[in-house]
């Protein structure tokens, strides 16, 4: 699975960290999304899909 995050869109709500903390984090300074792994393993797909759905700014894209 490949994912992409758009930091320009991110609003720092932190919802993705709650949904998939193994994949997403928030930058300490600006609170915006940081990708911990850009190609997480398949077993994280449900969590990442949830993060994508729950993101209030559509900043997460699932590429594959």
């Amino acid at each position: 699975m490949k994912i992409n995050v758009d930091r320009d869109r991110c609003v720092g709500a932190g919802q993705c960290v709650l949904a998939a903390g193994a994949v997403f984090d928030q930058n300490v300074d600006d609170g915006l999304v940081e990708l911990l792994q850009a190609e997480p393993s398949e077993e994280l797909r449900d969590a990442v899909s949830e993060a994508q759905l729950i993101c209030p700014s559509g900043a997460i894209e699932l590429l594959t």
Partner: protein, 409 residues
């Protein structure tokens, strides 16, 4: 064994409706799925309307929630640009304005809200509301050339629009019912910082109650306040709150009382569910029904309602933690839970003077809300305290309570 629904109609193609439809598919629903939207646009995100769209920073395409091909891929049939006229619950039919009758063995009501109007605002040129993409683009156009803008209403929408309009060169007066805009919603420290930013931007804030819009020769001339003052304006934005879109449910047998009244599962009646701004759900703490008009609430309600609709006896209460944010110039304010109804406040990290802080708002010793300004990551650490209604000990994070702290409990 009963079979689940085979024809689901989701009415309303804002974030609640589109997330409901997408979640139904993600959860394995394989029957017919129709998403009805009154606006001609593909589902899009509303928070940027009063920010990046109004200021012209973003093109409208940028706020689309999903690429156009996603709906095809998920088997979501879109009916856009047509409003809904009636729900016939006994026949299990949703009627649309173009005469279409959609059979539905389950319906999700996600018709959202519309702006409240003011006396005299219907007709004259120069009066705007801000709910839809078309509203935002029309207002943006009206702001070209630096007109005098009066924003009636200083909630999240009014204040954000005022900031964006000021940035694009308008001469802006914001009318606030409260002494400081957003005071009750975000607390005195954060509201004070926003008020300072408004002053720095040259935005005039005027306390008062708007009673109507005045016009002459078909064009707006200003906004009348309760004390008789007339605030002269070339353009007026009416941002005095919203009304739920429930008129089409008349005669459906659903209970409507400032929104569609639902049980804790998000169900209004057998086979009819509601999500988003239009849904009135019981507050898990007080039991009182209420609506939220927050972006994340709409998403989380939609996910929960879609799951409950398919879950049968496994349905779970829909009770997302309230959360919203506002961006005002260089301030990002985030609120978990609620400030309203609290009686004390403790700054946790940073300070208002640094324009960077977090604070908890408590009712008695219980944490009911957390506010963060320009500290989005630290805000997350306070979330569990709000979620659990924790007793405030002065120790938001870090190790568990030790003996020296336990006395405070």
């Amino acid at each position: 064994m009963t079979t689940g629904p085979q024809e689901i109609v989701v009415v309303g193609a804002g974030v609640a409706g589109s997330v409901t439809a997408e979640t139904l598919r993600r959860e394995g629903y394989a029957g017919r799925l129709t998403l009805v939207g009154a606006e001609p646009h593909l589902p899009y995100d509303r928070p940027p309307l009063s920010k990046q769209i109004l200021s012209g920073q973003w093109d409208p395409d940028r706020i689309r929630l999903r690429r156009p091909d996603v709906y095809d891929r998920l088997g979501i049939e879109l009916r856009l640009g047509v409003s809904v006229t009636r729900l016939d619950r006994s026949a299990r039919v949703v009627e649309l304005a173009d005469g279409t009758r959609l059979a539905a063995d389950a319906v999700v009501v996600a018709t959202g809200v519309r702006p409240r109007r003011l006396p005299g605002d219907d007709g004259p040129a120069g009066v705007h509301a801000l709910r839809t993409l078309d509203d935002a683009l029309a207002l943006r156009e009206a702001l070209a050339g630096g007109p005098r803008l009066v924003v009636a209403g200083a909630g999240l929408l009014g204040t954000e629009a005022a900031v964006a309009a000021r940035a694009s060169g308008a001469d802006v007066t914001l009318v606030s019912a409260e002494p400081i805009p957003l005071l009750g919603l975000i607390g005195p420290q954060a509201a004070g910082l926003i008020a300072a930013v408004h002053r720095e931007l040259g935005l005039r804030v005027r306390q008062g109650r708007v009673t109507g819009v005045e016009s002459a020769d078909g064009a707006v001339t200003g906004v009348r306040l309760a004390d008789g003052t007339l605030l002269a304006a070339d353009v007026v934005l009416v941002a005095t709150g919203s009304l739920p879109n429930t008129e089409w449910l008349r005669g459906s047998g659903l209970r409507v009382d400032d929104g569609v009244v639902c049980d804790t599962l998000g169900r209004a009646n057998p086979g009819v569910w509601a999500a988003g701004d239009v849904a009135s759900l019981p507050d898990p703490r007080t039991g009182n029904h209420r609506r939220f008009e927050h972006r994340t609430q709409a998403t989380e309600q939609a996910i929960a309602v879609a799951r409950n609709l398919l879950a049968g006896s496994g349905a779970r209460p829909v009770a997302p933690l309230p959360y919203f944010w506002t961006d005002q110039h260089d301030l990002k304010v985030q609120v978990f839970g609620e400030v309203a109804g609290t009686d004390r406040c403790h700054v946790v990290e940073g300070s208002p003077a640094e324009r960077k802080f977090t604070a908890v708002h408590c009712a008695g010793d219980r944490v009911r809300g957390a506010v963060a300004v320009n500290l989005p990551r630290a805000a997350q650490q306070l979330r569990p305290l709000v979620e659990s209604g924790a007793v405030w000990t002065g120790e938001p994070v870090g190790p568990p309570l030790t003996g020296s702290r336990a006395d405070g409990r």
